[in-house]
Symmetry: C2
Subunit: 397 residues, 2 copies
Amino acid sequence: MPKISHTAEIMPESAIRMLTPYADQAKADGIKVYHLNIGAPDIKSPASAAEAVAGFKFDHLPYSNSAGTYALRRAIIEKYYKPNGIDFELEDLLVTVAGSEALTMVFQAACDPGDEVLIMEPFYCNYNTFSLMNRVKIVAVHTDIRDGFRLPSAEVIEKHITSRTKAILICNPSNPTGTLYTKKDLLALGEICRRHDIFLISDEAYREFCYTSEPYFSAMQIPGMQQNVILVDSASKRYNLCGARIGCIISHNRDVIKLVTKIAQARLCPPVLGQVATYGALSADKEYFAAVRKEYIARRDFTIKALNAIPGVYSPTPEGAFYTVAELPVKNASDFCKWLLTDFHPGGETVMVTPAEPFYKTKGAGRNQVRIAYVLEVPELKKALKILADGLKVYNS
Amino acid sequence: MPKISHTAEIMPESAIRMLTPYADQAKADGIKVYHLNIGAPDIKSPASAAEAVAGFKFDHLPYSNSAGTYALRRAIIEKYYKPNGIDFELEDLLVTVAGSEALTMVFQAACDPGDEVLIMEPFYCNYNTFSLMNRVKIVAVHTDIRDGFRLPSAEVIEKHITSRTKAILICNPSNPTGTLYTKKDLLALGEICRRHDIFLISDEAYREFCYTSEPYFSAMQIPGMQQNVILVDSASKRYNLCGARIGCIISHNRDVIKLVTKIAQARLCPPVLGQVATYGALSADKEYFAAVRKEYIARRDFTIKALNAIPGVYSPTPEGAFYTVAELPVKNASDFCKWLLTDFHPGGETVMVTPAEPFYKTKGAGRNQVRIAYVLEVPELKKALKILADGLKVYNS
């Protein structure tokens, strides 16, 4: 029997899906599971997304341009970025198969095998997979829950930079912590990247989900960083079109765009129907985002308050995205999360949250933490967090 | 300015798109270009594809299962493979972002960096990109135009096998040659793979485009090869849904499927709307394929006859796909193809074909050859091939 590659040994299990079999079993047993484990919100997409798809008649479906349809690229610039004060040319933009492909391509463009990328931990676990597949090494810069996962000082960050460091990758606001980096943070990161002549890769998939009164400050807005910044963006969360699989790479660095375009040509084109849906969604007005933001602020406020009211639980207050990382009064959060699914079903219901440990690279870090996605309506969140609180009481007695 | 990766230097330009700027210029100058350069046919998809999309109402678009929706996977098995005499379980199947992603994942599953894969040349150039991105080495086994690009003897193939060889990859029928491997060929390849304990990767994207009276013999049907065979399939050509970006990997080897599933989880899911379209297309009946086949046989017969009637041109008769590789009476086909676009516009029209050299790995091989995609209706093909014939006359005088 032929042997598969060693990738099998180095590739981690998906942290987010690790507990899925237990959830499936619970559901098969008739248990209702509140899903706070995955960033799959219940929010409606702009109606214009489905309308665009319904209005798209085809008798066959040819490839689009490898960089995405002209119409979609123009709309991304004119309807989304320009009104947000960010200006760039059509040639600075490549449409990708969602943020996932964008990140893979950016790793490939910025790094050779053996190169290093700095990422603040805890971080989105799939960064591990994208880097592993390209034999790129992630170097984690630790951030602390008690400090709200704020950006460490330049001094601390620079200690992690070696001759193999090619980039700093941030997710802003962050999945899993919800931390929003400020303009000051971004300028500091820009300084570091310029000083060391490395890329700043900014994953801004959650940029519409910010709950402060400050306007969002994008990495694209750092002065004098045109050659260093690579933006990764996605329609998945912004318009709740996760299944459309549309994202993009934006950079003023033409070498980067030229290389990712070459890589993109090999996979021919991004999904055409997803491009149609995203093109439609781009008609969303400010009111759409304002309503979504209002809803998430209510959910966040409720969630954080409810969490911190549970004895022994601590969660900082995230300023963006729709996640928070909370500390629980347990030794091993993974065991507890599993136990909720297998053993704790008050009134035939339970709750699913994600162990935070796989979001850390430092061994043992975050073992007593979970990531909670507040993607349900407040009355549902209330029931779910009550189960969590009761579960902790029973588990610890 | 930060340096991009060395991938930029090793990554070839897309052979198929190399001449696109010249074609774009010609079109901007008002010239009509007959496109025989790219596998983008004019054939209609089954009407059920667009109907499925039109009937798919959504108010938001969540992720599907990473392996594809249950409905699509079941339909692939029940509606396509079972009626074709190929039986496997739901767990043997992973839906991918078209054949492109399937091939990338299969390279990652079968090979570590530095491993080798044997491929008959000329071969689909994007195999180069997929292998390069994973630092896998393609070892070309030469096949000859005068021999109709038939499979070489086991002895010749085995000469290319080293301790690093992990797989033989075939495209059957072949893009770019249209060569269809017989049952005997497949059994011989099976023998070789078993003997050397390596994978047989079979790209069967064009399997419905076969013009012999024999039933298609799939690599999945080679007896005793369950652990060795990895099938790569795609909806792109079969249903003319290139833009849907849906393909799949099929293998009875559970280690392979387990690993590609892990890789697939990191990119979350294949495009959901493309899955809907493909699910719809799977209702296509035998009459759909029979009509398409009939049309392509007429196009092929016309094309091959017309080509061989041009003095100094030679094309074997392909038995599958919708391509042929033809030898032209020129030194450098690439120069000639470019000249057609820039300088030869009889009656304000010209023709675009693809130089075949980039489909070869052996240096200098195929320099006087072109790949022709017979993807237009016969009257259009007639005009296009007339321009090619006249062009050769002028070019050589």
